[in-house]
Symmetry: C2
Subunit: 268 residues, 2 copies
């Protein structure tokens, strides 16, 4: 993350509190929000639905930008719309539609440039979250921690060195996240529950929402073996379960602070 | 574990290789095996089925011992049968039936005495595995890592300082195991996949079978907060995924060795 841009990465099924936070970060009544429903099979309907929700939540201006083909993603028309945005929101659907349609296009390059130049808020939910990472989980929900229980591919790399999974607790996806970081221990595995998000700032992210973020770090593992089939061995990995208010330092690969002291006291 | 007795703790759905290993450890053609189906709702059927399987696998002598009430568990008749056994096998079912029916009875005391005196092999699968631990998971499969996503109670404490979960990968139970160790960080969380087992020896256990054993250790956690409801915070826990051949040192809370070098080379 460069400039003062921020990423708001949601694990799916975001409730009004998280969506409001996005609107607020984008400037509330002065926000200019662009919704991109590339991941969706029904981009018109999905885009219009999110646009309507952001208007209801007080966003000054909202529009859905149609980017459903590589031709549209390379056409100059969208540039002015995106350059003017204070907040850009990627909906859910299929993350491989996002990487397949936007990957390497003028829009892809422009988005990276806008974030580097800042300030803009880039948000995504579900598939729109998955594509943010350097390496993206594209599928696999098999039981067990095995090489073939997860499929991965390159994401759009808005948040490098991280591998995001979503609907995390709801779909019991720890096995596939462990499988992925065992294969790619350079990447931090970040599993985001539904109605939960990470918000980046500087070198850290903060957890928002009603669920938790599970970070799996194979960096400290003393022994990793990934046979072509059958169970993976992964000894000495670290795991952090972080609810709202917790902060995680990415280059340090460690949680920094817990929830605010008020919540800490209530919990004690 | 005292004497030279061993515990063979299976995660459910044990295949012939694991069941054969039990028969072999109990003495094969000279084995005297006792099956206890207390956990089952149909103890006669379940007990007879396992007895038949152990006979097919070459056990010298096998019998099912009916212990379906506290009266039976306190009656003197079973003592001679158990004293003569080289292998004792607890079937699956409901672990709370085992602790409710056997807990504190003459049979409970006798089993602990036999294991301390050794050598005998005490095996259990599924519910028969869960009850082995100091603290036992009795239920809870809710999504997320929360205090109310797991229910626990005392086990029969054949393997103290450990909290066993079974059908682990197949039922996506990491959330509940994390929830349990966050509440009770003294206990090592040991999640055993189906057709997979741990075999204790000295201060260690070895992993057997086709799946993996996942060990979750909150002992190193730097921050644990368990609110009455809502997400748990657990920072800095350790996780190990251990397939067959791996060994784990219990008091040291660490994996000792990976699979044999031959397997290591094949995996490389």
């Amino acid at each position: 993350m460069e400039g003062s841009s921020r990423l708001l990465i949601m694990g799916g099924a975001a409730g009004p509190a998280l969506l409001s936070r996005f609107v607020e970060l984008a400037g509330a009544a002065t926000a200019r929000i662009v919704v991109i429903a590339t991941a969706s099979e029904s981009p018109e309907t999905t885009g219009a639905a999110y646009a309507e929700r952001f208007r209801e939540l007080g966003a000054g201006s909202v529009r859905a930008l149609r980017l459903s083909s590589r031709a549209e993603a390379n056409a100059p028309e969208s540039e002015a719309v995106l350059r003017d945005a204070t907040g850009i929101f990627f909906t859910g659907g299929d993350q491989e539609r996002i990487t397949g349609i936007l990957g390497g296009t003028a829009t892809d390059t422009l988005l990276h440039g806008l974030i580097a130049g800042g300030p803009v808020v880039l948000a995504g939910t579900s598939a729109g979250a998955a594509m943010m990472s350097g390496t993206m989980i594209t599928g696999g929900d098999g039981p067990g921690v095995t090489a073939d229980s997860v499929r991965t591919g390159p994401g759009l790399e808005f948040l490098p060195c991280v591998l995001i999974d979503q609907h995390f607790a709801e779909r019991g996806r720890l096995n596939r996240l462990l499988s992925a970081v065992a294969r790619y221990p350079h990447e931090l595995g970040v599993g985001i529950d539904e109605d939960t998000a990470i918000l980046t700032g500087g070198d850290s992210f903060e957890v928002l929402g009603s669920g938790a973020v599970t970070v799996v770090d194979a960096g400290a593992a003393t022994d990793i073996r990934v046979p072509p089939s059958g169970p993976i061995a992964l000894a000495g990995a670290r795991i952090h379960v972080l609810p709202a208010g917790c902060t995680f330092h990415l280059p340090g690969r460690r949680p920094v602070t817990g929830p605010q002291s008020e919540e800490r006291e209530r919990a004690a």
